[in-house]
């Protein structure tokens, strides 16, 4: 028995559904809003360097090596001699997805990746009677790597569809920065880093590919469906980090940093194709494709932090950083001028996003051997919430770091573990979705003193 009307209605509906919702798999699942931007990594990137991250990133008031520009450009002035640095990181992220209403889709999805995280060179000099320093930096801040592969079963209103969804996303947002710091008084220094986010200069974009293959029954008639959607985003913008360092006394230093909000141009390109085949009713089979592009705007929020470091002994330092990021100002403006929340994908007016506050605490102990080798021992923990409607998702973590310094070479490694539970419910609320996050990151950095 056939139901052409129904077939016709659902056939067109399927095409539309595939064409418009294949931005990301979560959208696939629920036909959710298209304006979401998935950021699997931390929403709150801080600075770089294995030493600093071994202290869990509590480095605003320390900021005394070649990575200072990424933490607090005001601390750069502490470098009395030129230094260069290179940082590499590798992570393994596991997302344990849970679909209450589609249990077959539940499961662990994980990705592993490694790449250069940071490069910098800093050079102190004196000009017009003032000590200052310049630094050139490259830093990768956001990571978009995500890879999901899961079965999806839909059984709704006479339409039964069983398909396999293969979704991959990768890309980065990075900045090339030029930092400058000046000694204002013997106790106070300022600095600024000008960050260029340009896909032409450094990786600033991401892409995703979604492949869906499945079969089902439409009013009793079997059909096969297949689609492939490719999206590419390119990001371009510029902002500044402004920092300050105050040497209160020989033991206590206080730092502050402000990362200015900025509007980035987001260029979106899509290519897609979909086909639905009814073997028993070829007249209902059809195929479609789409090529489109759009220029949008992404408004990045203001972020600022304050930190304090206390040097109990010459070789033992404790530090504490607090950060606030105004995620309620994180806005995606489409080509039509409509404003969306990139977090929820809802209209900005409907999104209930609050600012987040990070807390980072760390310590560094230097074991200085009699042969002048420096063996650091770093540790710390942090609270790094992800913005979410209502209240942020809680993410915690800790880190451990060590290394060896010998002569002008200082090699550090740090391990960081981030974890969160029952996150992202807002993403697929109807599917009863939530996820647990486990992320292991290993940082390795080399700083050379000249």
């Amino acid at each position: 028995m056939r139901y052409p009307k129904i077939k016709s209605r659902w056939g067109a509906g399927l095409l539309f559904w595939f064409m418009l919702t294949a931005i990301h798999p979560i959208s696939l699942c629920l036909g959710a809003d298209l304006q979401r931007i998935e950021i699997p990594s931390s929403f709150n990137p801080v600075g770089s360097g294995a030493r600093a991250l071994g202290m869990s990133g509590a480095f605003i008031a320390v900021a005394d090596d070649a990575t200072a520009a990424s933490w607090n450009p005001g601390g750069l002035i502490q470098l009395q001699m030129p230094e260069i640095s290179v940082v590499y990181d590798g992570f393994h992220r596991t997302e344990a997805n849970r679909f209450v209403r589609s249990p077959a889709a539940s499961g662990d999805e994980s990705v592993t990746r490694g790449r250069i995280n940071y490069l910098s060179g800093a050079y102190p000099f004196s000009l017009l009677g003032k000590d200052m320093i310049v630094s050139l930096n490259y830093q990768r801040l956001y990571d978009f790597t995500r890879k999901w592969d899961f079965p999806l079963v839909t059984d709704e209103k006479g339409l039964f569809l069983e398909q396999r969804v293969d979704y991959k996303q990768e890309g980065d947002l990075s900045a090339v920065g030029m930092a400058w710091s000046i000694q204002a008084t013997s106790a106070l220094s300022f600095g600024v880093t000008l960050n260029l986010w340009d896909d032409d200069l450094s990786p600033n974009g991401w892409k995703s590919v979604t492949v869906q293959q499945g079969s089902g029954r439409d009013a009793g008639d079997a059909f096969n469906v297949q689609s492939i959607i490719y999206d590419r985003y390119s990001f371009k913008g510029m902002n500044a980090n402004i920092g300050m360092l105050w040497i209160v006394d020989r033991k206590l230093t206080v730092g502050a940093v402000l990362k200015t909000p900025f509007e980035a141009d987001l260029s979106h390109t899509r290519r897609g194709a979909v086909s639905v085949q009814y073997p028993g009713a070829p007249e209902f089979s059809y195929a479609a494709s789409e090529n489109s592009s759009a220029d949008e705007t992404l408004k990045m929020p203001l972020s600022f932090g304050i930190g304090a470091a206390y040097r109990f002994f010459h070789n033992l330092t404790l530090s504490l950083d607090l950060y606030r990021t105004e995620w309620d100002d994180f806005v995606r403006v489409d080509a039509h001028g409509s404003k969306w929340s990139p977090i929820t994908g809802e209209a900005l007016s409907d999104a209930d996003i609050d600012p987040t506050h990070q807390i980072r605490m760390g310590m560094e102990y230097l074991w200085i051997t009699r042969q002048r080798q420096i063996i650091p021992l770093c540790a710390g923990f942090f609270y790094d919430p992800a913005p979410a409607p209502g209240s942020p998702d809680d993410i915690f973590g800790f880190s451990l770091g060590s290394g060896i310094g010998y002569g002008i070479f200082h090699f550090d490694v740090a391990y960081q573990y981030r974890f969160g539970e029952d996150m992202g419910e807002y993403m697929m609320e109807a599917a009863g979705f939530s996820q647990n996050l486990k992320e292991h990151t290993l940082y390795a950095s080399m700083v050379v003193h000249f």
Binding site: L79, Q80, F125, S126, Q371, H449
Partner: protein, 1016 residues
């Protein structure tokens, strides 16, 4: 955007390549074209910035600015410390107190300088702080006149300043104190090491009171150890310790026991040791008074001993001698005189009347002259090599020679005159024995000696001192025994022999000595008995007999054998001159010679015997001068038949005519020494001493540094000297000697020990032994800490003298490191690389470590010679700091860091610095032994910990003693080799023990508790 970025990048490159730009706070203070008061990087007002800038100001001599900066630095961080983090991962050595102290010192503010330097040393020691604190203290002491007394030295060990020891080394312990500060303690010793290479007691910093304990090597013989202590103000004190290094056991001289009629045995001999004989036992029974230099052995052995006696003696230094004498060989010695030797009574009653002089007819005189030849050996010594010069001895001898030839018919060729350089030990004995040997049955011999004499106060044996005799070595003297042996020997056929000795203690010839006898007749003071008859009215006419009868009787006495002795004195010193006014009249002769010569010259009798002449013309004249009492007597021997030595005068002379003048040249010609042509059977004792010793060790391999030689020496005429490798070990001549001597094996490898003996006749014998000395494996150079030295110097010397000092220091330092006995230096080539700054040294160290690992060395000795121009000194100059790290190559573990510092760059002081740094290294890495406490397989616990000063990373050797090498003759151990069981590394240190990780372990189940070990 790209253009923006490119512009930023170019801007950055422009800055980066624009060169170093100094901080705005680095206000350059110029001096001599150089810029001071600058820092290498930006000046941020941090403590390390102030410290660096202050150091720069101080380098330029801007004391006040430097002081201000150091005080600023101290205001922020007030603790001197090495390797302090400044920012990031940057380290500096931070010494604000020290540098402030130096700046204050330069400004003459000594009390403040002392305070700051002491504050620096309270937290971290540095050679530079030590150096300047001493200087500041010294300046303060001089400024305030605080030093009043020189340092005091108290020696706690040894307990006495004059001791005897048989040890190889002596630990000198004591305390030096001063009312200010003790700066230097030096210990010189007069041994094999030269006095110019003393031990410097390690003093890093002067202190009011410093204890010291140093081990000093001792040599055999006299050792003088001089401890010199100097205080900061320059006052010094000296204390001297004299150690007699005695490694020779007591000499045992014992003849084989003589069997007596009652079946018991009589043992005669003596034990002698210069240090004193502590114990003496015969067959286990203690005899004699201990502590004496010589103990006589006169012991009766029970028949049960069978004539065997085991004699053991130990001297005060602990050396022992043991010997066995056996009466079984007595059959050859039956003639040995066992009974006490008889002395003639000193009163004239025992002297037969027939021995007194009478006159004979001329015919008899002629007959006597034709039948007898007169010989003389005349010795006179003024010019001694090691004794005080005499004035009259040679004149006395020559005058006697002249009288004998001119008045008494002695032929010149029959007189041997030995004076000064000719009168050596050897020549005297040869001439004497030769002259004695040539005597025929009717010949007479007169022996005259004028020179120094000596007396052994313990044995009462006397000596003539030859020209080459030493001051305190009797073996270089001529013993009375030797003289007696020659003159009383049955082979000497001469009729009458007269010995006239004009020397100190010459009366000892007339006293009993070991194995010899004399009969002494000393004229009593006032005439009595026979003498009163003889001397009566002072003229022979008073005899009331015809002179010819007397001559006849005297000549009869002359035909009987005699062995007579006249000494110028008794057992006392005698005068070399005539005392009082008479010295002016005849200053060329001694008191005794004056009257002897006068008696011979003024004699008017044709025939006169010596006793008459002595009794009537000599004795009283001398005694009347006071103090000196000549003696006359006879040697107790079968060769003396109570005859008389007779002088027969030419008839004309006796009648009062002047003697004919002799040609002076002929007289002089007689002084030449002519070696006697000895007939067969001479010398009297032709056999050299017989040497026996523990020969079984010959060719052996030993592991000890000294070996005990047990030596027996016999000689018929007496052993005069015994030496081992040229070092005399015999102080007391004797016939049957037993000596123990610890002979040093001075080198690793083959050692030759040459034993040489000489008897009193000059016969020599020689024995040689070869021993191969090996070092125990654990002490071989190859198992020491293998190390590669890597010494860096500054890029360029601040001053020319600094450069030369640096070159000298490098070479000398390497030599010291090689010789110090702690390292096996496997590559002594040092890098000529320059050292830009100490901070950059870590790079050089990395390269050096790679090099050391490539050479498979256990350790790297990483040294830096840091010279720096020092401004503000009165004369200007530079300083030298030697900084050395010892680093384990495998782990990079730094075992120790030591440094020395000085501003005196003289070559001598640079050497002292090198010595000092090596001493510090040796102190820091002690060579000590220990034992295994427990072996857990992976870890071995040993009983050495931090308190033993060992360090983590040090290597050690586990070993056990091998089979000992035994001397087959004595049964004594000659040492043993060691077997190395494995090596290990100190992994974890605790105060009293430590954990070690064994490696290179031999295939053994495990180390046992108590297993021995030694640090590498």
């Amino acid at each position: 955007m790209k253009r923006t970025l490119a512009a930023l990048f170019l801007l950055f490159l422009l800055f980066f390549s624009s060169g170093c730009s100094r901080s705005s706070y680095n206000t350059c203070a110029e001096k001599d074209g150089r810029c001071y008061g600058v820092t290498r990087g930006a000046f941020l007002g941090r403590w390390w910035n102030y410290f660096e800038r202050g150091t720069s100001f101080a380098d330029g001599g801007f004391w006040q600015k430097a002081e201000a900066d150091f005080r600023q630095a101290l205001g922020q961080w007030d603790e001197d410390r090495r390797r302090v983090r400044t920012y990031g991962r940057h380290l500096i050595d931070y010494f604000p107190h020290r540098e402030l102290g130096i700046v204050l010192f330069r400004q003459g503010r000594y009390p403040e300088a002392v305070q700051e330097l002491e504050a620096s040393l309270a937290t971290v020691a540095s050679a530079r702080a030590h150096f300047y604190l001493d200087k500041a203290r010294q300046a303060r002491i001089e400024q305030e006149g605080l030093d009043r007394t020189p340092p005091a030295i108290r020696i706690t060990s040894p307990a006495s300043s004059e001791i005897i020891s048989n040890a190889q080394t002596l630990t000198v312990e004591g305390v030096a104190s001063d009312d200010t500060f003790v700066k230097e303690i030096r210990i010189h010793w007069q041994g094999d090491a030269a006095l110019d290479d003393p031990i410097f007691v390690r003093i890093d910093l002067s202190e009011p009171r410093i204890g010291f304990a140093e081990e000093i090597p001792l040599r055999a013989g006299e050792n003088e150890i001089r401890i010199t202590v100097r205080d900061l103000a320059g006052k010094s004190s000296i204390k001297t310790i004299r150690i007699s290094g005695d490694r020779t056991g007591p000499v045992l001289s014992a003849s084989p026991p003589v069997r007596r009629p009652d079946g018991r045995y009589l043992l005669n001999g003596y034990a002698h040791d210069p240090s004193g004989v502590r114990t003496l036992t015969i067959n286990g029974r203690s005899i004699g008074k201990t502590g004496a230099e010589e103990i006589a052995i006169r012991d009766i052995l029970l028949p049960s001993h069978g004539g065997r006696a085991v004699i053991e003696a130990e001297d005060m230094a602990g050396n022992r001698t043991r010997t066995l004498v056996d009466g079984a060989s007595l059959s050859q010695m039956e003639g040995f005189e066992a009974a006490p030797l008889l002395l003639a009574a000193s009163d004239g009653a025992v002297i037969p009347a027939r021995t007194r002089g009478v006159l004979t007819p001329e015919k008899r005189i002629q007959g006597y002259r034709e039948s007898a030849e007169n010989h003389a050996v005349i010795i006179g010594i003024n010019d001694y090599a090691k004794w005080p010069e005499l004035k009259t001895a040679v004149n006395d001898a020559r005058a006697l020679q002249k009288i004998l030839t001119t008045r008494y018919g002695y032929e010149e060729e029959q007189i041997v005159l030995l004076t000064d350089g000719e009168a050596t030990w050897e020549k005297i004995l040869h001439v004497l024995s030769g002259a004695a040997a040539r005597l025929s049955e009717n010949d007479n011999l007169l022996v005259y000696f004028a020179g120094h004499g000596q007396l052994d106060p313990l044995t009462d044996n006397g000596y003539w001192i030859p020209r080459d005799g030493s001051r305190n070595d009797p073996s270089t003297w001529i013993t009375n025994t030797a003289i007696r042996d020659i003159l009383t020997n049955p082979k000497v056929k001469g009729k009458n022999i007269l010995v006239i000795a004009d020397s100190c203690y010459s009366g000892s010839l007339l006293r009993q000595g070991p194995g010899a006898g004399v009969a002494e007749a000393e004229p009593p003071g006032p005439p009595s008995g026979f003498f009163s008859f003889l001397r009566g009215g002072g003229s022979v006419a008073r005899f009331g007999r015809e002179t010819t009868d007397l001559e006849k009787r005297i000549l009869e006495l002359a035909r009987q054998r005699s062995r007579q002795v006249i000494s110028s004195g008794g057992i006392e010193p005698v005068s070399d001159r005539i005392p009082g006014a008479q010295a002016q009249e005849n200053p060329e002769h001694s008191l005794f010679a004056t009257y002897l010569l006068k008696a011979l010259t003024e004699n008017r009798l044709r025939v006169v015997d010596i006793e008459y002449l002595y009794n009537t013309r000599i004795w009283k004249s001398i005694v009347d001068q006071g103090g000196q009492r000549p003696r006359i007597g006879r040697l107790k021997t079968l060769m003396d038949a109570d005859g008389q030595f007779v002088f027969v005068q030419d008839t004309a002379i006796a009648a009062g005519k002047a003697p004919p003048e002799k040609d002076a040249d002929a007289v002089a010609g007689n002084t030449a020494y002519r070696r006697p042509q000895l007939p067969d059977g001479f010398p009297l004792d032709a056999a050299p001493p017989e040497i026996r010793f523990n020969r079984g060790i010959d060719g052996r391999t030993v592991y000890i540094e000294q070996v005990l030689l047990e030596i027996d020496v016999d000689d018929e005429s007496g052993v005069q000297s015994v030496s081992v490798n040229g070092r005399k070990i015999l102080r007391r001549p004797g016939r049957y000697l037993h000596l123990n001597h610890l002979a040093a094996l001075e080198k690793v490898g083959e050692n030759r020990l040459v034993i040489e003996c000489m008897d009193q006749m000059g016969n020599r014998s020689r024995q040689e032994i070869r021993l191969h000395r090996k070092v125990q494996k654990i002490h071989e150079t190859g198992v020491r800490m293998s190390a590669v030295p890597f010494i860096l110097g500054p890029e360029s010397a601040a001053k020319p003298d600094a450069e030369s000092s640096q070159i000298a220091a490098k070479a000398y330092l390497l030599r010291r490191l090689t010789q110090c006995g702690r390292f096996n230096i496997i590559d002594a080539t040092y890098s000529p690389n320059s050292l830009k700054t100490p901070v950059n040294s870590t790079e050089e160290m990395g390269a050096a470590m790679e090099n050391a690992r490539a050479l498979d060395a256990d350790f790297l000795i990483y040294g830096m010679l840091l010279t720096k121009e020092e401004t503000g000194r009165e004369a200007g100059g530079a300083s030298l700091q030697i900084l050395i790290d010892v680093v384990e190559t495998d782990t990079g573990e730094r075992l120790t860091t030591q440094d020395v510092y000085d501003e005196d760059l003289s070559l001598a002081n640079v050497r002292n610095l090198c010595r000092g740094i090596v001493v510090k290294l040796r102190d820091a890495l002690p060579l000590i032994g220990g034992q295994v406490v427990r072996d857990d397989g992976n870890a071995v616990i040993i009983n050495l910990g931090e308190s033993s000063r060992i360090k983590k990373g040090m290597h050690l050797i586990f070993f056990e003693e091998g089979e000992p090498v035994i001397d087959p003759d004595t049964g004594r151990s000659l040492g043993s080799d060691t077997v190395i069981l494995g090596e290990g590394r100190i992994e974890r240190l605790l105060p009293e023990f430590s954990y070690t990780k064994p490696f290179a372990r031999m295939e053994i189940p495990g180390f046992e508790r108590g297993q021995r070990l030694v640090m590498k």
